[in-house]
Every structure is written in C-alpha cells, then in structure tokens.
C-alpha cells in the first residue's frame, strides 16, 4: 500500500514562474521528509529535506512546506529554470526492522520547464 503519494505524474511550467510539486502521506509516524531530483540515466540526487518539527525549510530557489495536520508537503521552485526539468521524488522516513531508517518514496512527478 502506497504510503507516500504524488498524485500528479507530470507538470509543465514556464521558465521564470513558480513550480509547485505536491506530496501526501498516510503514516503519521513519518517525521522526516525529503525531496530528490532525478535526471534520466542518473541516480536520484538529494535536494532538500524537512523535519516534522518545522513547517518550512528554504534553500535558495527551493522551499519545502509541511502541513502535518493534512499530512501534506509541497516543494516550491522559484523561479523555475529549464535545468530544473527532471523527475522529482518525495520521500518520507520511517523506522524499519532492526535500528534502521528507510525511505518510502512516491512515484515521482515529471517536471518540464519550458523557455
């Protein structure tokens, strides 16, 4: 059962505008959330994260917002650039098995930034 959901498989945004990628989760035990960016034929690259004790984290053009009551987080990219075109994965951290934390990933959203 998918515990992390990205309901938009794709998103197209004009260069210079804001890109908003959304993510929902179902497990209230998740307390650390991450966004990864992935280009074709490469591994996912860590982008930004947020702990559940915060509601916002900013890093340059990237801001992640967390709404714990709604179990929802979003990634804002401002301004969007053509190089931001990639697949973005939302992930939530949960404890697994013996003293380990594993990431639960959404299915990804493919962002296309057009000139």
């Amino acid at each position: 059962d998918q515990q992390v959901k990205q309901n938009s498989p794709s998103l197209s945004v004009q260069e210079g505008r804001i890109s908003i990628l959304n993510c929902d989760y179902t497990n209230s035990m998740f307390d650390y959330f991450l966004w990864y960016k992935k280009y074709p034929a490469e591994g996912p690259t860590f982008l930004i994260s947020i702990s559940s004790i915060k509601d916002k984290n900013e890093d340059g053009r990237f801001t992640v917002f967390l709404n714990k009551s709604a179990k929802h987080l979003s990634l804002h990219i401002v301004p969007s650039q053509p190089g931001d075109s990639a697949v973005y994965f939302c992930a939530a951290s949960g404890f697994v098995g013996n003293s380990g934390y594993a990431l639960n990933f959404g299915k990804g959203t493919s962002l296309l930034v057009t000139p």
Binding site: F89, N98, Y101, G108
Partner: protein, 118 residues
C-alpha cells in the same frame, strides 16, 4: 557528491542465471540500501544493511539476497533471475561512523545498474 559506485552499470542476462550487483562506497557510512525503480512504482526498498554482516529485508525482498562483509561493499544477488527482476537498481548510503543510535535519514544514491533479464 558521495563516493558511491555501482558495478556493472548495465547487464543483460538470461532467466535462471545468477546475478550479483555490487555497491561500493568510500564514505565509511554505516547504512547501505538497495532499491529498484520501475515505471509506475517509484523506488522500492529491497534490502538494507545497518552494519557489517547486519542486513534486513525491505518491501520487495523476495528473490533477492544481500551480503555485507566489509563496510564499503554491499552486494545484491539474484539467485535465479526472472524477467520480473528486469529493472534499474540503485544503491544508497546514509549515516556516518557516529555513535550508536545516531539517526541519519538523508540517503545518497549511486548511479544505478540497468538489469535486463531475457
């Protein structure tokens, strides 16, 4: 970038043959993971390791085994490959050589291995 390499980067094999994928890290990180990525599924955890000789199952572990005899190497083995195991496999690492119980959730990924089972 984290020092993670995967080998081979591409492999084509036949159903029923054994396959071993290798993940090597130079970061001395405690935790290592194997994921597979398939269209429509995102990344799914196969197995993970929380130390040398310490491994555990993930979400999709059936048909896979792992071994970790050294901190830097984590091997994923398909004992008898099937077509359903055609996928892109990613290794990831997290953590440092810090104190016991230190939580380190951010994972860093290798470049991936594309495996095709005919």
């Amino acid at each position: 970038d984290a020092g993670i390499t995967q080998s081979p980067r591409h492999k084509v094999t036949e159903t029923g043959t054994p396959v071993t994928l290798r993940c090597h890290q130079t970061e001395n990180h405690r935790y290592m993971y194997w994921y597979r990525q398939d269209p429509g599924h995102g990344l799914r955890l196969i197995h993970y390791s929380y130390g040398v000789k310490d491994t555990d199952k993930g979400e999709v572990s059936d048909g896979y085994s792992v071994s970790r005899s050294k901190t830097e190497d984590f091997l994923l083995t398909l004992e008898s490959a099937t077509s359903s195991q055609t996928s892109v496999y990613f290794c990831a690492i997290s953590g440092t050589s810090g104190p016991e119980g230190f939580r380190t959730d951010t994972q860093y990924f290798g470049p991936g291995t594309r495996l095709t089972v005919l």
